[in-house]
């Protein structure tokens, strides 16, 4: 248990240099640009009540926008994700405390001292540099310190917009229920905030008592902080080599220098088929002599992220999900083309390797009770569309908000009397009992057979294919033992087998393990017979 915890913590250190580096880069740059903007603005605004009011109002308004929303707004405003929108959001965020304190600092100076500055014959610049700014300095530094704490804190939520920061630990920890990662991120974010605050405090003190040596030491401290990720990366604490992976066959021949550290994390999205497949994958890896941890039921959008960040090593995703949700494609190509493009995208954009397809696809399908379909004479989506205005449709919680729905609706001119979102387990019963006329089901769901539902054709191919594919992290892809253990799964699970396995769990009360065993057995049989599963790829 203890050594397990230690190794978990140690594995977090791998990514520390890049995440801490990203965090420090974002925070320090935002603070620096914030100072460069807010100090002149404050100097200009301080003696001008109307400018002061406007500037403070604007920055306060920015402040009231929740930081996550501000980050998201910047993504839309700049049309890009990554560190640019994150940095701009953080700069905007840092402005208020610095601007406000510059203004109050300047306004708080005793007018007699300002008159003295005039009286000895200082011009405006001399009065500013020699008297006003030095006297406002303590208040200004207090503002910079407030901003630094805000910015370091806000930088943790830069992860959703694609900027690397310590927030990655926190988000991944949250989404994969990993408290070690979560606490690791919090710890370093707090440490960074405190260090920065301490250094700024020291700098202020040095300026106040005008101790050049102290200022020098603190300047060095700031530099050291700025370069700390670089220094950290030199230590290579159990450093996982930065992987740029090559897909497929070439990988197996490359030797992983850390062959003996083969512990892998297998993930699954929150539905039956995924649980079964995760169990199957885990068993295969274990049989190959590897240590495996299973993380079940992760959010469907975060599995890919977790794979990208190294929290996961392997799970099953679907081509259509990558195509519509991640690549944001609206047009539809053939199954084979979508598979190729999706794997290329994963490798290029995310350094994720697609080992291949499993042999079945879990498409969205429109289903009706057989009686009702025959009674209305509906066999495909064109025929459904003609009568859709008096029919009720049901779908899972997200379907009617998805791109796929908008697309299929447009292509066929579907216009249901009502679209009802419901939990997918209720959907099948509802369509059978006639509460809804049509349901949007999952192609491999065992309940389609069990309830004897009619699957409607999609002749225009308006719904994307959801071929199941095995996606793995670069470190798994480089481990030839692991690849060898997983390869027999490719093209080995046909739609019928998957449907049966799903049905075992959903309908017959079998356990996930039993369903996985069933799949394993059928794979073994095929291996002996020297065949592969019935192909789902028809082109």
């Amino acid at each position: 248990m203890d050594s397990d915890l230690l190794s978990q913590i140690a594995s977090q250190f791998d990514t520390l240099p890049s995440r801490l580096g990203g965090h420090i880069f974002l925070s320090l740059t935002a603070l620096f640009v914030g100072i460069v903007l807010s100090v002149p603005l404050g100097v200009w605004a301080a003696p001008r009540p109307r400018v002061e009011k406007t500037a403070l109002l604007l920055t306060s308004v920015i402040q009231t926008i929740p930081s996550l929303a501000l980050l998201a707004l910047m993504v839309f405003a700049w049309g890009t994700i990554g560190w640019i929108p994150a940095l701009i959001a953080l700069i905007l965020y840092s402005l208020l405390p610095m601007l406000r304190n510059t203004i109050t600092g300047l306004q708080g100076i005793d007018p007699a001292i300002l008159e003295a500055a005039d009286g000895v014959g200082m011009n405006r610049w001399q009065a500013l540099w020699l008297v006003r700014l030095p006297l406002a300095m303590p208040t200004m530094v207090a503002g910079i310190r407030t901003a630094s704490v805000w910015v370091v804190g806000a930088a943790t939520i830069a992860q959703p917009v694609g900027a690397t920061s310590l927030g990655n630990y926190i988000f991944v920890g949250l989404q994969t229920f990993n408290p070690v990662s979560l606490l690791f991120g919090c710890f370093f974010a707090a440490l960074l905030a405190l260090t920065l605050d301490g250094l700024l405090h020291g700098l202020e003190r040095a300026a106040r008592v005008r101790n050049l040596r102290l200022a020098g030491i603190i300047g060095c401290g700031l530099l050291l902080l700025a370069f700390s990720p670089l220094i950290l990366s030199q230590f290579k604490i159990l450093g996982r080599p930065n992987a740029v992976a090559v897909p497929g066959e070439d990988l197996a021949v490359q030797d992983d220098p850390q062959q003996n550290v083969s512990k892998f994390v297998v993930g699954s999205k929150p539905f039956t088929e995924q649980y079964i497949l995760a169990d199957l994958i885990a068993k295969r890896l274990r049989a190959g002599g590897m240590e495996v941890e299973v993380k079940d039921g992760m959010g469907s959008a975060t599995t890919l992220l977790a794979l990208e960040t190294g929290e996961l090593d392997c799970y099953v995703d679907y081509t259509g999900t990558i195509w519509t949700n991640f690549m944001k494609k609206k047009e539809l190509l053939t199954r084979a083309e979508i598979l190729i493009e999706a794997s290329a995208y994963l490798l290029k954009e995310k350094q994720i390797v697609c080992l291949g397809t499993l042999g079945f696809s879990n498409d969205y399908v429109f289903v009706m009770s057989r009686d009702r379909a025959e009674q209305l004479g509906i066999q495909d989506l064109y025929e459904l569309a003609k009568q859709s205005s008096k029919l009720k449709a049901g779908g899972d919680i997200e379907f009617f908000d998805r791109l796929e729905w908008r697309n299929v609706k447009k292509v066929y001119g579907l216009d249901f009397e009502e679209c009802i979102s419901m939990d997918s387990t209720l959907m099948y019963g509802a369509v059978e009992s006639g509460q809804i006329d049509v349901a949007v089901a999952y192609g491999t769901d065992g309940r389609i057979n069990r309830y004897d539902l009619a699957v409607l054709d999609d002749p225009a191919v308006a719904l994307p294919p959801y071929d199941a594919m095995l996606v793995v992290s670069p470190s798994l892809a480089r481990n030839h033992k692991a690849v060898a253990a997983l390869r027999p799964l490719l093209q080995a699970i046909g739609p019928t087998q998957m449907q049966i396995a799903n049905g075992m769990v959903d309908e017959q009360g079998a356990t996930v393990e039993e369903a996985a065993e069933y799949l394993e057995d059928s794979i073994k049989k095929q291996e002996m017979a020297g065949t592969t599963a019935e192909p789902s790829v028809e082109e």
Binding site: D118, V120, N123
Partner: protein, 256 residues
């Protein structure tokens, strides 16, 4: 030489006047004392001379040139100014405060430090002991000396002093007054000095100008004022030192 011609200042667009139609002249090397109750317009008058305040009407000449035709920054650097309430920069050392005028006029660091050292000696604040101190580490009297030294740093031919000896104990005040008198004789600058204290004015000034609600009510040498106060207000102001002198004499006579 300083000359004010029919100078008026209104802070409220002409409804009331802090200074009204004031005319006076201070000859080269002379000391003029400005006297009057709080709020009668003394500081306003002095600040109009170095353009910290611009007059509403009238003309002010310093060494024969209208101050309104001069760059205010250049004008102020020529004129030594001792502030009411001292006005030292709290974030600068004594040395930096004294050297501020040479520094802003672009003198070398070494040059202005040397000058500041000399000026500190002149006002009896040994540089080794006081140069590195901050204003808050000085007594009130020491601060006033630093204020003096700072005003002298520009080698001014004109000095403006706004209550330079206010808020001091009588002994310190007396010694500073004596030092001022000897410095003024030695350096020969023309001075306008604001004070509340008629005794101080009688001791230090060549001319005494008495103001009341912005108006000049009497001007003359100490001897002239003592001989003929001219009006009740001035007579009342002279009454206090007279009574003090009388009191002292009586005491001395009794003891003798």
């Amino acid at each position: 030489m300083i000359e004010l011609k029919q100078v008026s200042k209104s802070w409220d667009g002409g409804q009331s006047f802090a200074v009204k139609e004031l005319s006076l002249k201070v000859e080269d090397g002379a000391v003029l004392a400005l006297l009057g109750r709080s709020g009668c317009g003394k500081s306003t008058t002095v600040k109009m001379i170095n353009r910290l305040v611009d007059p509403t009407e009238g003309e002010i000449l310093v060494d024969g040139v209208n101050v309104m035709q001069q760059d205010p920054v250049a004008l102020r650097r020529k004129i030594g100014y001792v502030f009411q309430g001292i006005g030292l920069f709290p974030h600068m050392t004594v040395l930096e405060n004294v050297g501020i005028i040479p520094r802003i006029t672009g003198e070398e660091s070494a040059a202005y430090r040397k000058k500041a050292d000399e000026l500190l000696d002149l006002v009896h604040l040994p540089a080794q002991e006081f140069a590195a101190r901050m204003p808050e580490q000085l007594s009130g009297g020491q601060r006033q000396r630093v204020g003096f030294a700072r005003a002298l740093a520009a080698d001014p031919s004109v000095m403006l002093l706004d209550e330079p000896f206010g808020a001091l104990d009588p002994v310190t005040r007396d010694s500073l007054q004596t030092e001022f008198k000897s410095l003024q004789r030695k350096l020969g600058f023309t001075a306008v000095m604001v004070t509340h204290d008629m005794a101080e004015a009688l001791l230090l000034a060549d001319q005494i100008a008495v103001m009341k609600e912005g108006l000049l009510v009497r001007i003359g040498t100490p001897a002239e004022l003592l001989a003929d106060p001219g009006n009740d207000y001035v007579a009342a102001l002279l009454e206090t030192p007279r009574r003090h002198v009388q009191l002292l004499r009586n005491l001395e006579n009794r003891n003798a």
